[in-house]
């Protein structure tokens, strides 16, 4: 396995399109900020739906190196991947909670290239 600690993190955005539990204004604003950031990113319609269908893309996300995931509660995201048989690695994964944070804070954490874990983001391996 290659050392990915010096690679830039990837960005994954979850739209939560199947139930709209993430506030619409927050997810719209975050998507706009990502879209205008000039950075590449991947957006999925709904991580819950992917977990339910054991979507093989979850494996790619879990095994693809450092990643920041804009979604919902870190505890939920961690175990959604596990439920699909594709557990997230212990290191290099940050989940930024769009159900609790402002769009500005979410985008700041996603787009900050220099931080792995900021005080208000949640490495999935940390107890809450």
């Amino acid at each position: 396995m290659t050392d990915s600690s010096h690679q830039p993190h990837r960005i994954l955005y979850c739209r939560c399109a199947y139930a709209n539990t993430v506030p619409q204004g927050v997810k719209d604003d975050v998507l706009q900020r990502l879209s205008e950031s000039g950075l590449p990113f991947e957006a999925v319609s709904d991580l819950c739906e992917m977990s339910a269908s054991r979507d093989p893309r979850l494996k790619q996300i879990a095994e693809g190196g450092r990643v920041k995931i804009a979604a919902c509660y870190p505890r939920a995201v961690k175990w959604l991947f596990h439920a699909a048989g594709q557990p997230l690695p212990e290191e290099g994964v940050d989940v930024v909670n769009m159900r609790e944070l402002s769009a500005e804070d979410v985008a700041a954490q996603l787009l900050d290239r220099n931080t792995e874990s900021t005080p208000s983001s949640h490495p999935v391996n940390h107890a809450e």
């Binding site: 199947y18 719209d28 991947e42 819950c48 990643v67 870190p74 175990w79 959604l80 809450e128």
Partner: protein, 289 residues
């Protein structure tokens, strides 16, 4: 219900070498509309590192959209298994791009937002003690055990949408429904103080035996903390009743679910079967240890 279907189309918005960036408002509108229709989209940029595309299966197709300079390039799957198409979207509005993607999908089945809700329990194994209460409680065979007799969600399609009753009877708050509105069932942090104050083991047999609706009428005073409100046995029973009644009234109940509708005898039978399953798993665990 198509919860085991993977999306048949993957979309890449390509803004790398050989293509011009889309206008900001078009890019955002395309992203929003595709995501809201259930498609995944990767935005690829010049020199950017993107999440690698997974191996495409035979029934999956990759659509690369871009404002290409000149003709859109031709791409092939090196393994020869999947269809990859590149399309120039120069001058197209977002809804026209969505139409292209839908056309590319060719009516293949996929879960669509608004028509299906991914509602199923997600177990937090950092908290789960493998006590089997969830297995005992659920009448719909959602839960089972693996080869090591560890509890797992085996049939998430059996779960009744918007019913989080099993999470309310979990003594360790280990069961989440990420689409639920309130915490800690939605995955929010578990309030340790609440957990200690309200520690409560639900007597499953009392929930399932006899006239369960009588117990609803005789409900005891609810504790006032969020935790106890979210985890009371009365509320769990109420939700079970609501689920069953809703199914009963819907008139479109599959035969296997119809069998489970709440005559007290049927509930007791199902409950006994679930309890036996849980008991067997617990005994197997004990003997293994």
């Amino acid at each position: 219900m198509l919860s085991n279907e993977n999306s048949p189309v993957q979309v890449i918005l390509y803004e790398g070498k050989g293509a011009s960036p889309l206008a900001a408002e078009i890019r955002l509108a395309v992203l929003s509309q595709l995501l809201d229709k259930g498609f995944a989209v990767a935005l690829a940029k010049e020199g950017g590192r993107q999440i690698p595309t997974p191996p495409l299966k035979g029934n999956q197709r990759l659509l690369v959209l871009g404002d290409f300079v000149g003709d859109a390039p031709s791409l092939e799957d090196a393994a020869g298994q999947a269809s990859i198409e590149t399309v120039t979207v120069t001058g197209l509005a977002a809804d026209e791009v969505l139409g292209l993607v839908e056309q590319f999908r060719e009516g293949q089945p996929m879960n669509e937002p608004g028509k299906w809700k991914p509602w199923f329990p997600v177990i937090d194994y950092d908290r789960c003690t493998n006590c089997m209460q969830c297995l005992s409680f659920c009448l719909f065979d959602v839960y089972g055990v693996d080869e090591d007799n560890k509890i797992q969600v085996q049939n998430n399609d059996n779960c009744k949408t918007n019913c989080p009753a099993c999470s309310r009877v979990c003594p360790e708050v280990a069961i989440m429904f990420p689409k639920y509105s309130g915490g800690p069932i939605n995955g929010d942090k578990v309030n340790t103080q609440d957990l200690e104050r309200e520690k409560m083991k639900v007597d499953i047999s009392s929930l399932l035996g006899g006239d369960i609706y009588a117990s609803l009428r005789n409900r005891s005073e609810q504790a006032k903390s969020r935790f106890s409100k979210e985890r009371s046995p009365d509320k769990a029973l109420s939700e079970r009743k609501k689920c069953l009644t809703k199914l009963q009234q819907a008139g479109m109940i599959p035969a296997e679910v119809l069998e489970n509708l709440p005559s007290p005898e049927e509930i007791q039978r199902r409950a006994a079967a679930a309890a036996a399953k849980a008991d067997a798993a617990l005994k197997a665990q004990t003997s293994a240890n």
